[in-house]
């Protein structure tokens, strides 16, 4: 029985085709969980929306442009600074976001004039910034506001600015994945090829699907610099708007998140003949392999080996220390999509851990092909998991640690199970040699933290215990307060 119907899903049996347990000898052409299809009514999905996929995941990481959300103010706040993607220009993109703050009157009479005013105000507020991304949202798409027309008018009027418009209302598609797709394809159609970047090295790459979360991209940019390779377009962590318009000049596309940005890599291959090299930047063996491939592509094998040797010597002893303590621990990976297949073998092969369950919110069938091919037999694979399924899986597999996002993470914490943020990362960077040690450190600290045991305690029992030890004296200091509360107050 490769597909499983959880007890909690008995009333929504359609969920069965989304939940799979790998059996010995099974291949991905026999069983594949249904993915990237509409959430079944009755299932409390953890998915985000298309606008979120375009803004929070991709566009929001670009460092040198104004982010303008044409919609209610909540759409701006809910996709602002919740992901810590850094930049080398004092994190402009993390500090500022603009919204047209649409109200009822604008929905009734149209928001295009308001948008035009907002664009001009924003350029006045940040005179040193000449680039902007405008995102449509559900209400402004429904009333038919033509954001491209407004942007074109302002660009003609101001002359020295460039604006990119993304048509990604939240209701489009089945998850945030649609927003990734829209951003990729619209950038490719509208912006790539419009700018000639300064070429400083004969060896040039685009880093695609890397968002510099907690400095992940800085680690990778440093590796490229040490090998003498120029990064033209960093799509999009620490990425520059204009350099991303010059992506057509790179000789190689190095792809990390194939789910959110594989589209633009495919199009660059199709239109400009730039090959797409997919790599896994987590785990020593994988990172070394990726660096070797990039080095071999440019004939820079010596530089690649030097870098790998230096980094391994520096970080491997630390990783070994954690490996001894993490081996045998059971872990769940419940993230967005690609981290399932990026992480599973690195955790299992290099840290000796056992990945017992994997779930993704917006993965496509090819994400499951990769996850199942790399994952173990007996592991549970879930598409678009809901909270009740997570409860049931926890009961089944009794994990030592769960890597997931803040939504499921809060649920997990209440169950007193160690949780780490698999999207925004806990204490990154997680990429590269150094990053994998940070990951191991976070896992070690989470699993061995005494807080989880303490959190299980019923403080009322402590209160009674302390009260009986103190005897009558307790009444003198703080009538109405329990002894434990008094003890805490007294420090």
């Amino acid at each position: 029985m490769p597909f499983v119907l959880f007890r909690c899903d008995e009333v929504i049996p359609e969920r069965e085709k989304h939940c799979y347990v790998k059996a010995p000898g099974e291949d991905v052409h026999e069983f594949l969980p249904a993915a990237n299809i509409a959430t079944i009514p009755g299932s409390l999905t953890e998915r985000g929306c298309s606008y979120c996929g375009a803004k929070l995941v991709i566009g929001g990481a670009i460092k040198d442009c104004i982010q303008l959300i044409h919609g209610p103010v909540g759409c701006a706040y809910n996709t602002w600074h919740t992901k810590r993607y850094l930049s080398d220009n004092d994190n402009f993109q993390l500090k500022h976001v603009c919204s047209t703050d649409m109200k009822e009157v604008h929905i009734v009479y149209g928001g295009m004039k308001r948008l035009e005013k907002a664009i001009k105000e924003a350029f006045e507020a940040y005179p040193e910034i000449k680039r902007m991304i405008v995102y449509i949202t559900c209400p402004t798409a429904l009333i038919g506001d033509d954001i491209n027309r407004v942007a074109k008018k302002v660009m003609e009027e101001l002359g020295d600015v460039d604006i990119f418009c993304v048509s990604c209302p939240g209701f489009a598609g089945v998850s945030q994945s649609k927003g990734h797709h829209e951003f990729n394809m619209e950038w490719m159609r509208g912006k790539v090829g419009q700018y000639e970047p300064e070429i400083t090295s004969p060896y040039t790459v685009n880093l695609i699907g890397e968002y510099n979360i907690q400095g992940d991209g800085f680690v990778f940019e440093d590796y490229m610099r040490r090998m003498g390779i120029q990064v033209i377009g960093h799509f999009t962590g620490n990425g520059s708007y204009d350099m991303l318009r010059g992506m057509h000049r790179a000789k190689l596309n190095v792809v990390i998140c194939a789910r959110s940005a594989g589209y633009i890599a495919n199009e660059l291959k199709r239109r400009f003949g730039i090959p797409r090299l997919d790599i896994d930047p987590w785990g020593f063996k994988y990172v070394a392999e990726g660096i070797r491939k990039i080095g071999a592509f440019f004939g820079l094998e010596d530089r690649a080996e030097k870098l790998i040797a230096e980094e391994t010597a520096k970080w491997k002893p630390k990783l070994d220390w954690y490996r001894e303590r993490l081996a045998g621990k059971k872990i769940c990976i419940w993230t967005g999509g690609p981290r399932l297949w990026h992480w599973v073998k690195a955790f299992e092969d290099e840290l000796g851990m056992r990945v017992v369950a994997m779930s993704c919110k917006f993965g496509h069938p090819d994400d499951f092909e990769k996850a199942i091919s790399r994952g173990s037999e007996g592991t549970i694979y879930i598409d678009d998991g809901n909270e009740l399924e997570f409860f049931e899986v926890i009961e089944m597999v009794k994990p030592d640690l769960i890597y997931t996002g803040p939504r499921v993470g809060d649920l997990v914490k209440k169950l007193h199970i160690p949780y780490l943020n698999g999207h925004g990362e806990h204490n990154g960077p997680y990429m590269g040699f150094e990053g994998f040690v940070n990951m191991a450190r976070d896992m070690y600290n989470a699993i061995y933290s005494p807080l989880w045991e303490l959190a299980r305690e019923d403080l009322r029992e402590w209160d009674d215990r302390l009260g009986s030890e103190e005897g009558d004296g307790g009444e003198e200091s703080g009538a109405g307060m329990g002894s434990f509360a008094r003890a805490v107050e007294a420090g």
């Binding site: 991905v28 052409h29 000789k251 194939a258 495919n266 730039i274 491939k293 090819d366 990769k370 091919s373």
Partner: protein, 141 residues
């Protein structure tokens, strides 16, 4: 029109795979093929590209160069950037195969090439022809 084109490509692929052919390799060689295939399945991202055409191009391009490399017959001479990419992936794969499956290199040149060709066919069969990924045959990304 689009459907007809897809159908035609499938015919070409079936011909390429010659699925009706009975495999006459010995049991140890079958095990070797199966081992290399499983190794590639659990490791290489290039076999999972999202559309039929680019998945097929990768498997044919990389495994074709890998067959040349294991047989030592002639070194591939990549001319385009995409060919250079295939060469790099093939070179890395062959280096891994040398470590994981040293028994392959105890065989003669022709047999070594044949083993890799068989792995290529199996990959095309599983990842393309028999794939149940419903997005594989969408016409656009």
């Amino acid at each position: 029109m689009e459907e007809k084109k897809v159908e035609l490509e499938w015919e070409v692929l079936r011909e390429l795979l010659k699925l009706d052919e009975v495999c006459l390799m010995s049991e140890p060689l079958e095990e070797l093929i199966s081992g290399i295939y499983s190794f590639i399945q659990s490791k290489c991202l290039w076999q999972f590209f999202p559309r039929e055409w680019d998945r097929k191009a990768n498997i044919v391009g990389i495994m074709g160069m890998a067959a040349e490399l294991v047989a030592n017959s002639r070194l591939p001479q990549p001319e385009t950037l995409v060919e250079r990419y295939y060469y790099v992936e093939a070179k890395m794969l062959v280096s891994d195969i040398k470590k994981e499956f040293p028994q392959l290199f105890e065989l003669g040149e022709a047999e070594r090439r044949e083993v890799i060709e068989k792995v290529k066919k199996k990959l095309l069969e599983v990842m393309v022809l028999k794939s149940i990924n419903p997005e594989l045959r969408l016409s656009s990304y």
